[in-house]
């Protein structure tokens, strides 16, 4: 794993047994999987995956930390095959890798921290429907190939190319299920507001992938009809001092409102900005409620404090509000964040 090679050389070939179980066992034994069965990346399958891009196989997309593994188009395609991606998913995988390489995403930190954090992938634009991405009921759960395989491809790439071996270089103390796959699309068609990527300057017809490092999901039952009641439940769920964004004073907490909740807010005259500002104010935690003992990693000086209360992030605008999920007016969700690291990339930008 520590060998070096000239950039751009084709991947070396390996011989594994024909039998699928034995082939998986061989890859598993070499630490090349996430523990689940993979599709053997034969040259033919990899070549088919790469038909989805105009970029040559030797094109270097990134050098992924912490190992500095060279992520050529071919290497990304190999891992995408193993994850179960269809070729049409591949431009999303490439764009997600490029987004994670934006400096603010701090991929080296995300890959090696003791925090159980994984890149959360948010898809916007026409690509969601074209690829049958689940944006509705169970969007962060099992069952839809695009969500499962795209997220899984990213994990395999982070392990096989970036070198984030769990328990070795990936120091995540407990890990979390989102390290297998963590991907959904915004339910733009049922949102009363403009989609997340349009909020951030992209055209509605653009397809984008957004990456945010997230600690996982927190659901809260918010079967109310008044916006403030729903937000009170959310604020209560979000107000957890142990979340990285409180202790470090920055972050991109993600709030996921199902469509029925979003319509209720919009009908009452609420927009995303008002929701963000409400939550930012109501999630402040009085210092008096926290341990007096300094943490071993004493970040007190870096925390965002207003009127003696700790803020969930630097400013209200750093909170991400999106619409996704099933039709029932019940559960809303919150994803605690690792850092102030959100990055967006247009899918198919550049030569892809």
């Amino acid at each position: 794993m520590s060998a070096v090679q000239p950039v751009g050389l084709p991947a070396r070939t390996l011989a594994v047994p024909d039998d699928v179980e034995e082939a998986f066992a061989a890859l598993y034994e070499q630490g090349m999987t996430d523990g689940l069965p993979v599709i053997p990346p034969t040259p033919e399958r990899v070549a088919r995956m790469m038909t989805a891009t105009a970029r040559p196989p030797s094109d270097v997309v990134a050098e992924l930390p912490p190992r500095g593994g060279v992520a050529t188009i071919e290497k990304l395609a190999i891992n995408a095959v193993m994850a179960g991606c269809r070729p049409e998913y591949f431009p999303v995988v490439v764009a997600a890798v490029e987004a994670m390489m934006e400096p603010q995403f701090n991929l080296g930190g995300v890959q090696t921290t003791t925090n159980p954090v994984a890149p959360f992938l948010l898809l916007n634009g026409p690509v969601r429907r074209a690829l049958d991405v689940n944006c509705g009921a169970g969007a962060l759960g099992p069952g839809r190939r695009a969500n499962a395989a795209i997220g899984r491809a990213i994990r395999l790439i982070l392990v096989n190319v970036g070198g984030a071996i769990p328990g070795d270089v990936d120091k995540s103390i407990l890990g979390m299920p989102g390290k297998y796959t963590f991907c959904l699309g915004e339910l733009e068609e049922e949102s009363p507001w403009e989609p997340f990527h349009v909020e951030n300057g992209y055209a509605p017809g653009d397809s984008t992938v957004t990456v945010v490092s997230s600690q996982g999901t927190q659901s809260c039952a918010a079967s109310f009809l008044q916006p403030e009641s729903i937000l009170m439940m959310l604020a209560n769920a979000m107000s957890a001092y142990g979340a990285n964004s409180y202790t470090k004073g920055n972050g991109n907490p993600v709030v996921i409102l199902p469509p029925a909740h979003a319509r209720l807010f919009a009908d009452a005259g609420w927009d995303k900005r008002r929701i963000r500002e409400w939550l930012f104010e109501r999630t402040k935690i009085p210092r008096s409620e926290l341990p007096a003992e300094p943490r071993l990693l004493d970040t007190t000086a870096r925390q965002r404090v207003e009127d003696g209360r700790l803020c969930i992030c630097r400013q209200a605008g750093d909170i991400v509000v999106i619409v996704a999920g099933g039709p029932e007016l019940n559960h809303v969700a919150f994803l605690a964040s690792f850092g102030n690291d959100l990055a967006i990339r247009r899918i198919g930008a550049g030569p892809c």
Partner: protein, 92 residues
């Protein structure tokens, strides 16, 4: 047997060797970057002392870097402009 392609990405040839090794540290200014874990702070103090006592470094200034984010361009520029070498540390 089935032929497959290796999914493992390895570093660029010569990766890590692009920065010239300082032949000695005598009279040099060696920056130490810390994200302020207490253990790293202790190590930074000890490294700074040893750099001066044992290796004759002229100075070993400590630079704080974010704990959960990328180093700012401002700090990066400062280290490049002010130091002859730097130690990037994380003692978690």
């Amino acid at each position: 047997m089935l032929t497959i392609l290796d999914p493992v990405g390895v570093p660029r040839e010569g990766a890590g060797a692009s920065v010239p090794v300082a032949p000695d540290l005598a009279g040099k200014k060696v920056g130490i970057l810390t994200n302020r874990w207490k253990s790293m702070d202790r190590m930074a103090d000890r490294m700074a002392a040893r750099l001066k006592e044992v290796y004759g470094a002229a100075a070993a200034p400590v630079y704080g870097i974010p704990i959960n984010g990328a180093m700012s361009d401002e700090v990066r520029r400062s280290v490049i402009e002010e130091c002859d070498a730097a130690i990037v540390g994380l003692a978690n």
